[in-house]
């Protein structure tokens, strides 16, 4: 896959552009500081640089300068307001930079494909059905989290959270199709977390699977009272847990 370095201001949110490019290109995000861009170019060796110049001011001319110094033939695509382009117009004269006037998924992909001599229609017309479903795993134990990620990541897009707070934050950024929740956690436990999730009307229908380390009847009943979509005793086994998740998704489709 071709490597694209995406330069912009990502301090607050990840780029939307990245999400629709990453399925067809190898992408790497990068903060719009000349120093960082310089080091990144050296290490990542991209085939193209894509820049969101809306966040640029005249000081960011060094970013252009850096790229030109690094390789004057490296294609650079920019998108953002016309005014910003006029600010850096001299870099467009060399033919290195091209500007995308109306950036959206289609125009950006088309311009990139033009640079790489690829067929843009194929990429644009693929409906992203193949996208993996998103699963959030919440557990206070990092080793178990990584373990879960290793088991699930082939089939699902896995996001990890070490606490209820992180879980809620991730929930807001990227709505999951399923949540796997540890029952025993410090500060806010699994039960409380579930209540927090169910309290939001947007999230109340997301299926939740519980993981618990304790297998006695009392506990199991307490967990089952919460009506989770599934329930497992630790340590979980890969085949079983994937089966359970698949069943839940199947049922959803049938409904």
């Amino acid at each position: 896959m071709r490597k694209i370095l995406i330069v912009g201001d990502f301090t607050n949110e990840a780029s939307e552009v990245n999400s629709y490019l990453s399925s067809n290109f190898h992408t790497q995000l990068c903060t719009n500081s000349a120093k960082i861009v310089k080091s990144m170019l050296k290490l990542y060796i991209p085939d193209m640089v894509l820049m969101d110049i809306d966040s640029f001011d005249h000081l960011h001319a060094d970013v252009f300068e850096t790229i030109q110094e690094y390789d004057p033939h490296l294609p650079v695509l920019t998108y953002g307001r016309e005014k910003k382009k006029q600010l850096f117009i001299s870099y467009y004269y060399t033919g290195q930079c091209k500007h995308i006037a109306q950036p959206n998924r289609e125009t950006i992909i088309r311009e990139i494909c033009k640079e790489f001599n690829m067929n843009a229609d194929v990429i644009i017309n693929t409906v992203e059905e193949t996208e993996k479903r998103h699963v959030i795993v919440v557990d206070d134990n990092p080793v178990l989290l990584r373990n879960m990620r290793n088991m699930l990541q082939d089939k699902y897009r896995v996001t990890l959270a070490t606490s209820a707070a992180q879980c809620m934050k991730t929930l807001g950024q990227d709505k999951p199709d399923l949540i796997i929740l540890d029952y025993e956690m410090p500060v806010v436990d699994g039960k409380q977390t579930l209540e927090m999730i169910r309290a939001e009307s947007d999230y109340k229908d997301i299926p939740v699977i519980f993981l618990t380390g304790i297998a006695d009847k009392e506990h199991v009943d307490a967990v089952l009272d919460l009506k989770p979509a599934g329930y497992f005793v630790k340590p979980p086994m890969q085949t079983k847990i994937i089966n359970a998740i698949e069943n839940i998704f199947l049922k959803q489709v049938e409904q």
């Binding site: 290490l43 004269y93 080793v143 990620r149 990541q153 896995v158 990890l160 025993e184 086994m237």
Partner: protein
């Protein structure tokens, strides 16, 4: 309406100069103002004097408008208007129409604005100061001598005068600002359009330039292809001839074969010469600096020429200075080429006698020496008038006398050009009929100043070294040769016959891909130019091929396309090495010795110096660790790789877990802390069980139950044991972390980039990616200060503390 438009165009049209339009706005507004004022003044009953002054001013104003628009006297008119208005009209109006109790403040203000708008430079400064003096003067006089001021007759006139002055001056200034703004925005738009035009034109020019370039490239590509086409058959000829020489026992056949060898070598060098000359002409020839050993350079040169000298029965005398530095920086390949050219030339034109090769060096500045070579022969010599012509391409001297001497007449041109590139030139001294001396001197940087010492002795030593290490066998090695030309493959196989290597052949890229999924090969030789899938495409396909059994196998590119920079290009694509065709047996053997794993090689003469490069991926094996039942762990994981990884994670987090556990333990007392302790110890239990440390898990379980049942005394008894056991487990798991000494990362740019990648991975919630990048960062060692931060960062990444990690990165990136 039409007339109005016409007037508008004439005075304010966009094609008029900006200054003129500004002037017109101001003066015409003033004129209209004056015309309106006159009847009102009459009605108001103000003094006749004022009316007269206004009439005079209006007339002057009108004249100025006429002069500026029709007679092109803008500047004079401007100054005149400013003068009349600020020196005569306004002061008079001030005293006649009521002084401070009138609209004069507005008029004065407008006067100042006029000056700012219309004048520049010294005129501006002068007028402004004059105006200020007059205005201030007027007010001071009016203050001291109020009797000089003729008051307006009644309050209505005062109000009327103020409003009228306010409106007229306000409108005038408003118009001016509007006009300026429209001029500015027009200019901005025009600039944008111009920029875009320029952009398009620049790009078009670039395109044209590219086309021109590609035409030149087409020419050199054609030559490169031609050279390929010619080299391929020569390859076969030379290879097969080599086999004849090795295998024949008949003297006559051997002689024939030797003749073929000489002829094909000549043909090859001719093609090389043509390639070089095209490279020089297209500017593609460059001098590539590298460190070289003077001895090995001379060895190679002499190797090439002594054989031919022997054949012609010529003596080669060597006169090499002892104090030449042993290692220098320069383009050794080109120096070799220059020397070989000069010496073979001398050999060609010398029929009897000797050839003397001398070399010496003397120190110039700092680290540089002038390295001088001279080649003296006892040949036929060159006429004085012919020396200059010698350096022209395809020029051969005295064709009739020398017609039986082979050559295309390129050698000297190439030599001279190469020397020019190195900042030197070839000197020729010759006595016709007696012999010639060719000499040159190049500046070289010294890499190792140690002198070479006695040349002849060193040379003998070097020669014997060469002979030592050439022969080896590799009966257990499997090679794959991919070439569409069956003859080439045959030659290749034959060359390695003595090494007893097992060689499979593939006639194209597809067959090669098929073969490597079936069997592992120790080395693959891949021809570049093949029909269908070429070598580079095949190489790229190999990297992504499913079921490839040859990942990590060294792949050597074979090519007849020896144009400038070819080697670098192959190496950047990812090939391990590069051999130019026709394959030289010595180079092939060197390549094999460099890349074939040591255990597959068997030397006839052991060569301890040779170090094979091993670059194999360690296979995951789970080491025996006391207290860990890997089989139990494998119940929960699909493969041992994951178990290994989890165990490493566990090992790395034990320290942190112990700390946490101790913290909760120390806080024991209140109810909630007991629950926290239970959850922590529960976590330790499940982690331990996951990797199969069941005994440890059991101990943690006892603690957990004690906490659940509120048995603090029991926890106090058990917890120290648990911590002890955890420490012991950490000690035992030590085998997992391969504590090799970490290389130090000197290049802070790389750390910077890695940190940035980590930051982005955290922002997009890619935990696996962030783990991997963190591992990469941690695989280096750093200066103490940075190391401490890296360690801190590592802990926060291991524990998924995103905000802390981002903070540390931010700090490190400053």
């Amino acid at each position: 309406m039409g007339k109005f438009k016409e007037l508008n165009r004439q005075f304010f049209g966009s094609d008029l100069p900006t200054e003129l339009v500004l002037f017109n706005i101001i003066t015409i507004t003033g004129f209209i103002g004056a015309v309106i004022t006159i009847p009102f003044n009459v009605i108001n009953g103000s003094s006749i004097l004022l009316t007269v002054v206004i009439v005079v001013a209006a007339v002057i104003d009108a004249i100025c408008i006429y002069m500026a628009n029709r007679k092109n006297r803008l500047k004079n008119s401007t100054i005149a208007v400013c003068f009349v208005v600020s020196i005569a009209l306004f002061p008079l109006m001030f005293f006649v129409t009521g002084g401070i109790n009138s609209g004069m403040s507005c008029w004065f203000c407008m006067g100042i604005v006029f000056i700012f708008m219309l004048l520049d430079g010294m005129d501006f400064l002068f007028m402004l100061l004059t105006d200020i003096a007059i205005i201030v003067g007027c007010y001071i006089i009016a203050y001291i001598h109020p009797e000089y001021v003729i008051e307006l007759p009644n309050p209505e006139s005062i109000y009327f005068d103020v409003v009228q002055a306010l409106l007229v001056s306000g409108f005038a200034i408003g118009f001016i600002v509007k006009f300026q703004k429209s001029v500015y925005s027009k200019l901005y738009k025009q600039a944008s359009i111009n920029n875009d035009d320029l952009l398009e034109k620049t790009l078009q020019a670039k395109k044209a330039q590219k086309q021109a370039q590609s035409a030149t490239e087409a020419k050199s590509n054609f030559l490169a292809n031609m050279s390929h086409e010619i080299r391929t058959p020569i390859n076969t000829i030379m290879g097969m001839d080599e086999m004849i020489l090795r295998e024949t026992s008949e003297k006559v056949v051997e002689e024939y074969a030797l003749d073929i060898k000489t002829a094909s070598q000549n043909l090859l060098s001719l093609i090389n010469d043509i390639l070089d000359i095209t490279k020089i002409e297209s500017g593609k020839m460059g001098i590539v600096k590298g460190e070289y050993a003077f001895m090995s350079l001379m060895h190679d040169v002499l190797n090439n020429v002594t054989l031919r000298a022997k054949e012609k029965n010529l003596e080669v005398r060597l006169n090499i200075a002892n104090d030449i530095p042993c290692n220098m920086l320069g383009d050794d390949i080109r120096i070799k080429q220059i020397l070989t050219n000069i010496i073979t030339n001398a050999l060609k034109y010398t029929h009897e006698g000797y050839i003397e090769i001398s070399a010496s060096s003397h120190k110039t500045i700092e680290n540089f020496v002038d390295l001088s070579f001279s080649v003296k022969d006892t040949g036929i010599g060159i006429k004085e008038e012919d020396i200059k012509r010698m350096f022209d391409s395809f020029e051969r001297l005295e064709v009739s006398r020398n017609r039986n001497i082979e050559g295309a007449g390129l050698g000297m041109t190439i030599t001279q050009n190469l020397l020019k590139m190195m900042g030197s030139t070839l000197n020729v001294e010759s006595v016709y009929g007696e012999g010639s001396t060719f000499s040159f001197s190049i500046s070289q940087e010294v890499a190792d100043p140690e002198p070479i010492g006695d040349f002849q002795q060193k040379l003998n030593q070097l020669t014997s070294n060469y002979e030592y290490s050439t022969s080896f066998e590799a009966p257990n090695a499997h090679f794959l040769i991919v070439d569409d030309n069956a003859m080439n493959r045959k030659v290749f196989v034959a060359l390695l016959k003595e090494a007893r290597v097992n060689i499979d052949e593939a006639s194209g890229g597809e067959e090669c891909l098929d073969k490597i999924t079936k069997q592992h090969y120790d080395m693959i030789f891949l021809d570049h130019m093949m029909p269908g899938m070429d070598g580079v495409e095949t190489f790229k396909a190999m990297a992504s091929l499913e079921g490839n059994k040859c990942l990590g196998t060294p792949v050597i590119a074979l090519t007849a396309n020896a144009i400038a920079g070819a080697k670098e290009r192959y190496l950047t694509i990812g090939f391990h090495g590069f051999l130019s065709k026709p394959v030289v047996p010595a180079q092939l053997e060197k390549m094999i010795r460099d890349f074939l794993p040591e255990d597959l090689l068997e030397y006839h003469e052991a060569d301890a110096k040779d170090e094979a490069r091993k670059n194999r991926i360690k296979k995951v094996e789970l080491p025996e660790v006391e207290g860990i039942d890997w089989d139990y762990a494998l119940l929960h994981f699909p493969d041992s790789n994951m178990v290994y990884q989890t165990a490493v994670d566990f090992y790395e987090s034990i320290g942190y877990e112990i700390e946490e556990l101790q913290r909760y333990y120390d806080e024991l007392g209140s109810d909630s802390s007991l629950e926290d302790y239970r959850i922590k110890v529960h976590g330790v239990k499940s982690m331990a069980n996951t990797i199969g440390a069941t005994a440890l898990g059991g101990l943690a379980k006892m603690c957990e139950y004690a906490a659940r049942d509120g048995l603090v005394e029991r926890i106090k008894a058990l917890n120290p044991i648990l911590i002890e056991e955890l420490l012991a487990m950490k000690e035992r798991l030590n085998v997992l972390s391969s504590e090799v000494e970490k290389p130090k990362l000197e290049d802070m740019d790389e750390l910077f980039a890695l940190l940035e990648m980590l930051k982005m991975a955290i922002i997009v919630n890619q935990s696996e990616q962030s783990d991997q990048i963190m591992k990469q960062i941690a695989s280096y060692s750093y200066d103490d200060e940075i190391q401490a931060k890296v360690d801190k960062l590592n802990i926060s990444i291991v524990n998924f503390e995103a905000d802390e990690a981002l903070e540390i990165i931010e700090e490190m990136q400053k």
